[in-house]
């Protein structure tokens, strides 16, 4: 059995760890609130842009644009959203596993896909496996502004318009609730699944100067907005995942402290009993 001092030491160190995980849990809870709010702020913009894109797609039959057309796939782009730091439970690993499987399944050589990563964990994961990462961005703030990721978003869209990639998938954790996040795969480009139904199709617009030029401006913006939306969603998931992970770490620490205190008390009691037995034995020997 471990000595009293050893157990005491373990209890103390577990308590300190618990303080840290508890603090991290609370920090993540606060960040989650902010992230949810950011995601809410983004909703009007994304709804509106979707509405306009859908009404143009529905209204003008002859509206065509390279970004709307599916072409033969020679190279696929994968945009992977992960976090910069770990300690977030299965947040990163589940996304990365999914992407990794997809790539292994569909591609036989590195020339057939392009990886774009957001977050350090994703970048390091692919680099370690000798998979070329085309573009990456790390150290995205917890409350990202659109301006922070505009460059990488527009570069990614440009990869498609320049013909370097022929389709683009985005992988991220979709925020369902504080307890559940779902790994989501979304096809961003080409924009073939624009939702045409709904109120949008009822209004027809005048286009100034014409549809093509508007699509020229609008579609890249739309694609960028999808990427930004996924990032916001991913950030909310990240904080939620970290909060849950830290909560269970705190709970586990509690359990551990309980168990350790029990064995500490037992060991202490055993020592006392032994001392008494020795004294009683010594006194009996004197008589």
């Amino acid at each position: 059995m471990a000595s009293l001092r050893d157990i005491k030491g373990r209890i103390n160190s577990t308590k300190k760890t618990k303080q840290i995980t508890k603090a991290m849990e609370m920090v993540s809870a606060a960040k989650l609130n902010r992230a949810e709010e950011n995601a809410r702020h983004f909703v009007p913009y994304s709804e509106k842009i979707q509405e306009v894109v859908a009404s143009i797609a529905a209204g003008g039959g002859d509206a065509s644009h390279p970004m709307l057309e599916a072409r033969d796939v020679k190279r696929t782009g994968y945009l992977v959203i992960t976090s910069d730091r770990g300690l977030a439970g299965a947040y990163n690993s589940s996304v990365l596993r999914k992407v990794y499987q997809q790539i292994r399944q569909h591609h036989s050589s590195a020339g057939e896909y392009a990886l774009i990563t957001m977050g350090r964990v994703g970048r390091d994961f692919f680099r370690k496996r000798n998979m070329p990462v085309d573009r990456d961005i790390t150290a995205i703030s917890d409350q990202p502004d659109f301006a922070d990721i505009k460059d990488i978003a527009s570069e990614t869209v440009r990869l498609f318009t320049d013909g370097e990639i022929d389709q683009l998938f985005i992988y991220y954790n979709h925020y369902v609730s504080a307890m559940t996040q779902e790994v989501t795969e979304k096809k961003v480009l080409p924009l073939t699944n624009i939702n045409v139904e709904g109120k949008a199709s009822t209004s027809s617009y005048e286009y100034e100067p014409n549809q093509e030029e508007i699509l020229e401006v609008l579609l890249p913006q739309y694609a960028e907005s999808i990427i930004y939306g996924a990032l916001l969603d991913g950030k909310a998931s990240e904080h939620a995942a970290r909060m849950t992970a830290m909560k269970s770490a705190t709970d586990n620490a509690d359990d551990l402290i309980g168990d350790l205190s029990l064995s500490y008390n037992r060991a202490r009691q055993a020592a006392i009993t032994q001392e008494i037995t020795e004294i009683v034995g010594g006194a009996a020997a004197l008589e």
Binding site: H41, Y45, V52, K150, Y205, E208, P209, L218, E224
Partner: protein, 134 residues
């Protein structure tokens, strides 16, 4: 007097929503003035100032990367960034301007040049809106 509801939204959230009498802005194809009852229209905007005229007051907003959606009683401006004069960070804009000018002077690859040019336009636009000189 009739009014139209103007809302300006960016990916970072709504910037403004209020009733105004007239919107004037600079679209890719030229200056546009919109009064209530305009036919539905969509037009891309240049990096410029949008002026909103209300009763006795007017508002200026620096937009970049935006477009305008018009309905008879509602105008929506969707922009990648949109700022009221009070939200503009002059120091940042000035620094961005210097940086862009420097990059343009160095004259590197085509694409960098275009990006620098854009950055310069955005910075100048912000400063103009802030100082109200048109």
């Amino acid at each position: 007097m009739k009014t139209l509801t103007v809302s300006v939204v960016t990916p970072d959230g709504p910037v403004l929503e209020d009733a105004y009498q007239m919107v004037s802005c600079k679209a890719e194809s030229g200056e546009l003035g919109i009064l209530p009852g305009h036919i539905p229209m969509v037009a891309p905007l240049t990096i410029s100032a949008v002026r909103l005229k209300g009763e006795g007051s007017s508002e200026r907003i620096a937009v970049s990367g935006g477009f305008l959606e018009v309905r008879p009683d509602k105008v929506t401006i969707l922009a990648q960034s949109a700022e009221k004069p009070s939200d503009i960070d002059v120091d940042r804009a000035r620094k961005a301007k210097e940086r862009a000018e420097q990059r343009m002077a160095e004259k590197q690859a085509d694409i960098d040049f275009r990006r620098a040019e854009h950055a310069l336009k955005r910075a100048i636009n912000r400063l103009d809106v802030k100082d109200n000189n048109f």
